[in-house]
Amino acid sequence: MINLLIIIFTISIIYLSVAGRFQSFINILMFQGIVLCGIAMLELKEISLANLLFILLETLVVKAIIVPYFLGKLLKKNNLTHDSTPNIPQFTSLIINSSAIIFSFILAYNLHEEHIKITYFTASVSAMFTGIFLIISRRKIITHIIGYMVLENGIFLLSLAIGAELPMIVNTGILLDLFTSVLVLGFFVSKISNTFHTVEIEKLTELKD
């Protein structure tokens, strides 16, 4: 069942690299939050109630509801629909992301690390790669936020991979997650869009000096 969810998670990563609309990005984030919740539930069976609630809160409430909700609000406020001008054509980024999946599989397989499960590792490394690649290849700052979120999801999944041995790592990962989400949502976006009335990263160069 976990493997099934991980494959579905990876499919959402592939969809991410062909999607062009912000709304579909947000839907993917929401979907990934739900899938991650499922994976966490199944993976961490022997866990205290407080921890369980904490994880549930983080994945389901924060990842799947709050962050997408605020991002959606942001889109409405700024009248954004498409990220139409990627630096790298989507066709190329699809090829690169697919190769990243294959590459992370080969990497995982050749690590020979007992504590890390290959499926988790493949999915999380490719999610992290896709997140970073999204940040590199797109111009709009909102896509960058989505990239960070996907990166976070990857890190969360990786922490789940070793979570069975070290539950603390999961919690730390979640705290990091929460921190980033709050930081990103509260500070980064609303400040910048209020000050500059723009979400184009190009305009941020005015901030230099």
Binding site: N3, L4, I7, V18, Q90, L94, I95, I101, K117
Partner: protein, 310 residues
Amino acid sequence: MINIEWKYWIPSLLMIIISVFFQGIINKTRAITSGRKGPGLLQSLKDVTKLFKKGAVFSTSSSYISQIAPSIYFASVLAAMMVIPFAGYPALLSFKGDFIFFAYILGIGKLFLILGALDAGSPFQGMGANREALFSTLVEPAFFVLWGSFAMLTGQSSFIDIYSSLHYGSDVSYLLGGMAAYILGQIAMVENSRLPVDDPRTHLELTMTHEVMILDVSGFDLGLIFSATALKFALYGTLITNFFVNPNWHWSLSLIIFFVCQIVFAVSVGIAESFRARARMKRNPQLILSLTSISILIFFGALIVMNKFL
């Protein structure tokens, strides 16, 4: 050698029967969703028989290619049909690696369809031919990775053996079946130039793909091309159906599931076409290539099922 006993003919006959209704079901669904009554289910059959009775008009710039291309296209689909089994009934032709033959024989049909379009020397037909050639090129890896993964999973390499040794044990294997059905459905849409890569109802030559290629084909030849398209849908529908049929079931149950699956496939094509817009030409290549990425995941899923992944 070709098997000519009666039971080997069953899959082909079933496909021919369903292909008659396929286009009708799609059109009917589309009509109902848009609040119309729509033509009868047998309308496409009537259209084709009418075309078969008509004379022909050829372009003055055309050569012998125009004369043979539609026939070869139809023949390639017929030859591809001969390798598809159904639910324990083996195909007319069955050998190791017959899915390779399936893809390549459709490829030669496609080549002749493209050449037939270029034969008239029309700028529009060249455009359509170019797009069709590119789309079917990009969709090829998805098909091969899909069947390669299933061949790896089952240890077999012909359609009938793959299907009969495919056991749904774990949850991942169900997912694999579902993903395979999705990919094959999408491949069918691309190969037949339907939404989202092309809209057959569009009437602007600049945005057409398949329809613009056959602008100068008429009469008998056009009938052949229409029949080939309908048959192609049935082929892919049968490939999908086979994932949901167990060869050991009673023949009546298999038959019911065959028709149910095909009708569901046709209806879902109809519904998708009613509510979906054609993707922009620029986006088509990546949409098609993403099928390959998903089929790579099928490969990894197959590794998980085989316990090689852990």
